[in-house]
């Protein structure tokens, strides 16, 4: 039956048609917007007792962060704290289905929920010296370097889209995890916000 394998390799993200709308203005204002290709993204729900944390450490070589708003990282994996019993695990070396199998195996003995969310999230990276200004146009978090640093994450709202925001370096760079159905809105919003920073930069 020839039709059976139609579209096997044809994956389509919510931002595929937005790729070329970038204007060079970003570079001038010191912000770069990039669409990241997510690989394995897994949502994990579990009570973080010692055994569960240890089991994940053994499988992934990465700790489950228990301090609110923090991220633990290893060579190919980040674990982002979402709530007291909820995390987002990102694995750069494998697909979501594989990653969720790894985590399911790690947590098989626990009351846990492991869900592959690789298709439901998109990642937009906002990077550069003016990245904070762009985000501050729509996000009420305090992103000042005294309050928010690399290795921190927070669930918040940018304009009208819910995001999980992760600061990855001091550039500063922020990776925004956004539901695929809001990704285009957020992308357009960021493009718009980055297109004029005059007026919101330091006065005088």
């Amino acid at each position: 039956m020839p039709n059976k394998s139609v579209g096997e390799s044809k994956k389509q993200g919510a931002l595929d048609h937005c790729e070329h709308t970038g204007r060079p203005a970003y570079i001038e204002v010191g912000v770069t917007l990039t669409q990241m290709r997510p690989t394995g993204l897994v949502n994990v729900r579990v009570r973080p007792d010692n055994l569960a944390v240890e089991s994940i450490r053994n499988k992934l070589g990465c700790d489950l962060p228990t301090v609110p708003g923090t991220v633990e990282s290893s060579s190919d994996c980040h674990i982002l704290w979402i709530g007291p019993t909820e995390w987002l695990v990102t694995m750069s070396s494998c697909e979501g289905s594989v990653a969720s199998e790894v985590l399911s195996a790690a947590l098989a003995e626990f009351h846990a929920a492991v869900n592959d969310v690789s298709d439901s999230l998109h990642i937009i990276r906002v990077s550069g010296e003016d990245a904070r200004l762009v985000l501050e146009k729509g996000c009420s978090l305090d992103l000042h370097q005294r309050e928010f640093r690399p290795g921190r994450c927070a669930r918040s709202v940018i304009a009208k889209a819910t995001v999980l925001l992760h600061q990855t370096d001091d550039a500063p760079s922020f990776e925004l995890y956004v539901d695929r159905s809001y990704a285009e809105y957020l992308w357009r919003w960021l493009e718009d916000a980055a297109s004029t920073l005059v007026g919101v930069k330091r006065q005088e």
Partner: protein, 1004 residues
């Protein structure tokens, strides 16, 4: 360059090398950069700038700031038009165009001024009392009242400007950059705190902008600019000018409207620069250095153009180098008029005298005035002002020995400016907005801030501290304390030396005594913007009003766009006299944001055009677009509504789509349906709680429909839940309901059922869903899968199978919303488009037909399936829907159960779901049409129900409708009358299931 007759040859903070021109009421004038529209008009001798709101009296500039009640002008025209701007705050730019409001045909000759002559007929509450009869005529009255009121005109074309919003945080937010605010910001900034200093003016300084006293060895403004330079050199300090902190909310959130390019000429503005920015500042500490407003005095005809505040006159002379007139008269109860008189004298203006209600005036201010040869009229009051559309002089009389009346003869004092000062009112608006209570300070005659409720400190004139040295000292202390509170080590900066005369005591006078009772001998205005006089307040008191809040609404005192900045305390004082209650006992009306008006543009920000609201699209969206689908908004989702072909209208397209589903196979995008992943040993228990039916016997891989009720017993969501394994279920919700249902479950799990072991994860958008429906759906599915046995025995109705479809890993649910044989194929979202294309291409031989939400709704209506939000509106129970079969009698409890036995819920005449078949099978009722028990000539008619869904049903070949009808479940077969947009339609009550009642087709 034309002559500006009232411009002083030297001085001021205007840029004399940057002359500009502007147009006011159609006539060209000149001014300078650094002028406000008001200062430039005064420089050109324009004194009549507007007509008053109610009596259309001629009015002139009264203040030099945000408290202006009179000089309210219409700025620019066309798209840039902005009504109700304060000329005292409009910075002059080249080419500015403005016009006076509230006058016709012109400000000089205003037809509406006739009202002034009949003012006895227009007392407080005039409109309430007069336009009551007949009630139906109000709409006509309102048209003329609005025209008379003249509130400017709003633009009728889209706003060409760009507006932005910014969220920011700081350790110390300082509001006001006068001496106290600058000192506070400096102290906190030096400590390394993140400081934001905000001021509504175009430069820092506040009162220092017109101050002549030195700070240390510098002129006041040199000191201010040094501080400013130090502040902006600090890496964590931001100075926001032209920015009004207009609202102070909980959690130390302060809203600021910054006017970024309002001061630029229209041609200099660019869409790359926002016109205004809305700052949402969350501060650890707030320092309020908002200053004080001078108060007017209340006396007859105190609104004549030429009457202004003494501080305003001083500002025009010192800051703008403008003489507000040729010769000035002062009328005061305190020292600040003396300052102004001396400055005007120094600037070469003739000062005819200072009329002071106080006697035995001593002190260094009085001494300086006497030394300058300016006469002081001690213990005297102004009893009348003279001049027609501009002041020519005043009459004064001596106060009697008891101070409550006047004695002797009137004396005339000549002058074209009357500068009045009734003392000062601290600008406590923000403090009060943050819920701080005010105390009346009897010694200072004003309301001062009490204990703050939030982390804030008040300093300077806002605190009732009117001496410059006190402002500096309090500012330094507050800035230091605020920085410390925010966690910084801070030292109090050294106080610069300030030589200033001591102030002598003010005499508490509000409405000055007069020969005649109020109401005679000229109106005594309290609220200039809304034309409220002392007589109106007296009337309110006589009519029994006791609360200041009622006084405000009855007389409109303080209800103008100036929010009573000049009038509140004066109005209160007069009300106090009339009612015999003292001012502290009366209290003040609530201060509400915004402090000054804020544009709609900046509130909207970038939430406009394509960014107005998120548009959520499914993974197959682009296919729908390229196939010509028209879309329907379902919440924020865009769903294909229908797919018209070759000029089809909706009815034709829907008929074609429905017929395809009924005869071959249709395909619909159902990706938006909510999907919640439920895991844990207690999922079954949770389902038993949140759904009305029983879940114990559901087998693995089988699906069950459920209704979810609120605690009030009303239906709020429905959907199919599938058991994937003993501890793993997948719940589906309505398209708009996923978020709400998720929250609902979490609320119960987190707050009430802490022992229940269930994890809920919203995975709605992880999957794309293609729904194939119709007699050939099975054939189509079979062609695309090799590992799912699709035979009816192996894959029965209401079950689920995992496998691959078109090579994509999928969950396939055999459920039906159309009433036909139907499958919902779920695949990872990124592969949704591939699945869709495979189904379309393989389905070609069956003439596969994409169908949209409209057909979906028609198909389900033929089947009598409800839609939550159409057949339900939050007041409908399962019994009302005739769905008692889904309400478990065996279960001990479930959410909403108890409410279902309330007497009102079991009443037999509740509105219940029925089908309606119109006598004319081609007539499609309107949704919302009322079922009436009696036909009258026109509404109202006694209503007994309404149509909830109505369509032409292609599979049943006639029109069908669903309706909620009083006692409907027992009225089958009855004929009812429907009043539908003016048509009277007869319809027969039927079962709401119109198609395939036995379910043979979907079970096939």
């Amino acid at each position: 360059m034309k002559q500006q007759p009232y411009r002083l040859p030297t001085g001021g903070r205007i840029e004399r090398n940057r002359p500009i021109s502007f147009v006011y009421d159609g006539r060209p004038y000149d001014g300078f950069i650094g002028d406000t529209l008001a200062s430039a008009l005064l420089a050109n001798g324009v004194r009549l700038v507007g007509r008053s709101f109610k009596y259309h009296r001629p009015r002139g500039v009264m203040t030099a700031g945000s408290n202006e009640p009179n000089a309210i002008v219409q700025l620019e025209t066309g798209a840039y038009a902005e009504p109700n701007t304060r000329a005292t705050q409009v910075e002059l730019y080249d080419g500015l165009t403005a016009a006076s409001q509230n006058c016709w045909p012109s400000v000089g000759f205003d037809f509406g001024a006739w009202t002034s002559h009949f003012s006895d007929l227009f007392p407080a509450g005039f409109y309430y009392k007069t336009f009551m009869w007949p009630r139906s005529a109000w709409m006509r009255y309102e048209y003329f009242i609005r025209r008379m009121a003249g509130l400017g005109s709003s633009p009728r074309v889209p706003d060409p400007d760009r507006y932005e919003k910014m969220h920011t945080h700081c350790d110390v937010l300082v509001v006001g950059s006068g001496p106290a605010g600058l000192s506070a910001a400096l102290a906190a900034g030096r400590a390394g705190a993140r400081v934001i200093l905000v001021d509504e003016q175009n430069e820092v300084g506040g009162s220092l902008l017109e101050e002549t006293i030195a700070i240390g060895n510098d002129p006041a403004m040199s000191w201010a600019n040094k501080v400013r330079e130090e502040l902006i050199a600090l890496p964590e300090t931001r100075v926001l000018l032209r920015s009004t902190a207009y609202g102070y909310y909980d959690h130390n959130l302060v809203m600021i409207s910054q006017r970024v390019s309002d001061h630029l000429g229209l041609s200099e503005r660019s869409t790359d620069i926002p016109r205004q920015i809305l700052w949402k500042v969350r501060a650890k500490e707030v320092v309020l250095a908002t200053g004080a407003h001078e108060r007017p005095l209340i006396f007859p005809d105190n609104d004549r153009p030429g009457v202004m505040l003494a501080s305003a006159a001083r500002s025009y002379v010192n800051r703008y180098a403008v003489k507000p007139g040729s010769s000035a008269i002062f009328f005061t109860n305190n020292d600040s008029a003396y300052k102004a008189a001396l400055d005007m004298h120094a600037a070469g203006m003739r000062v005819s005298g200072i009329i002071d209600v106080r006697s035995d005036i001593s002190g260094s201010w009085a001494q300086s005035v006497r030394d300058a040869g300016i006469p002081i009229f001690e213990n005297q009051v102004v009893v009348a002002t003279h001049g027609k559309s501009g002041l020519k002089g005043v009459s004064v009389m001596k106060l009697n020995p008891s101070g409550d009346g006047v004695d002797g003869v009137t004396q005339r004092v000549h002058g074209d400016v009357l500068c009045m000062s009734g003392g000062w009112s601290p600008v406590v608006h923000l403090f009060s907005q943050s819920r701080g209570k005010l105390n009346f300070d009897v010694a200072k005659n004003c309301f001062v801030p009490g204990t703050p409720v939030q982390a804030s400190i008040t300093v300077g004139a806002c605190n009732g501290s009117f001496l410059l040295s006190d402002c500096l000292r309090e500012g330094f202390l507050a800035g230091t304390e605020a920085a410390k509170n925010a966690g910084f080590e801070a030292i109090v900066p050294d106080l610069p030396d300030v030589q200033e005369p001591e102030l002598t005591e003010e005499r508490a006078v509000w409405e000055t005594p007069n020969r005649l009772p109020s109401g005679r001998g000229g109106k005594r205005f309290i609220d200039f913007q809304n034309d409220v006089t002392s007589r109106d307040v007296e009337l309110a008191a006589r009519e029994g009003y006791l609360s200041v809040e009622h006084l405000k609404r009855y007389t409109t005192l303080g209800m103008g766009t100036d929010q009573g900045k000049l009038s509140n305390v004066n109005g209160l004082a007069v009300f106090s006299r009339c009612t015999g209650h003292d001012i502290p006992a009366l209290g003040v009306t609530t201060f509400r944001p915004p402090y000054t008006p804020v544009t709609f543009g900046v509130i909207g920000g970038r939430d406009v055009d394509h960014l107005f609201d998120p548009v959520r699209k499914t993974p197959m969206h682009e296919w729908h677009v390229s196939s010509g689908a028209l879309f329907e908004d379902v919440g924020q989702w865009k769903r294909p509504h229908y797919y018209p072909q070759d000029g089809e209208d909706m009815a034709a397209a829907v008929k074609r789509e429905c017929e395809a589903v009924g005869s071959t196979v249709g395909i619909a995008d159902a990706s938006t349906l909510g999907k919640l992943d439920l895991r844990g040993p207690d999922v079954k228990k949770l389902l038993n709680w949140v759904y009305t039916n029983a879940w114990n016997k559901l087998e693995t891989d089988r699906c069950r429909y459920g209704l979810m009720l609120g605690e009030n017993g009303m239906v709020f969501d429905d959907g199919v839940t599938t058991k994937l394994s003993d501890e793993h279920y997948l719940m589906s919700t309505t398209s708009g309901g996923a978020g709400h249902v998720h929250q609902w479950l979490e609320e119960w799990l987190q707050c009430e059922w802490l022992d229940m072991k269930v994890w809920v994860t919203n995975i709605t958008t992880q999957y794309a869903v293609a729904q194939i429906s119709g007699p050939r759906a099975r054939d189509l599915l079979a062609e695309l899968t090799s590992d799912i046995d699709v035979s009816p025995q192996a894959f029965p109705f209401m079950s689920m199978r995992c496998g691959t479809v078109a090579g994509i890993s999928a969950r396939v649910f055999r459920i039906s919303f159309s009433g036909e044989l139907s499958y919902e194929i779920n695949v990872p979202a990124n592969k949704g488009m591939a699945l869709w294309r495979a189904l379309m291409s393989c389905g070609q031989k069956y003439n596969i037909t994409p169908y949209g939400t409209e057909s979906m709704h028609v198909l389900r209506a033929e089947k009598g399936f409800i839609i939550v939000g159409e057949e339900t509106d939050g007041t409908v129970t399962p019994m009302d829907l005739g769905m008692d079969w889904i309400v478990s009698k065996a279960k001990k409890n479930f959410l909403g159960k108890r409410s279902l036995s309330r007497s009102d819920i079991i009443k037999s005449d509740r509105k219940q779901l029925v089908g309606l078949l119109t006598d004319n099978p081609d007539y499609v009722l309107g949704v919302g049409a009322q079922i009436v028990s009696q036909i009258n000539e026109s509404p109202p008619m006694p209503m007994e129900g309404h149509v909830t869904s109505s369509y032409y049903g292609p599979r049943v070949g006639r029109s069908i409708a669903m309706a909620l009808l009083s006692g409907g479940l027992k009225r089958q077969g009855e004929t009812v009358t429907v009043w539908d947009r003016g048509n009277i339609v007869r319809a027969k009550v039927s079962s709401p299931v119109f198609y395939d009642r036995d379910g043979d087709r979907m079970n096939a």
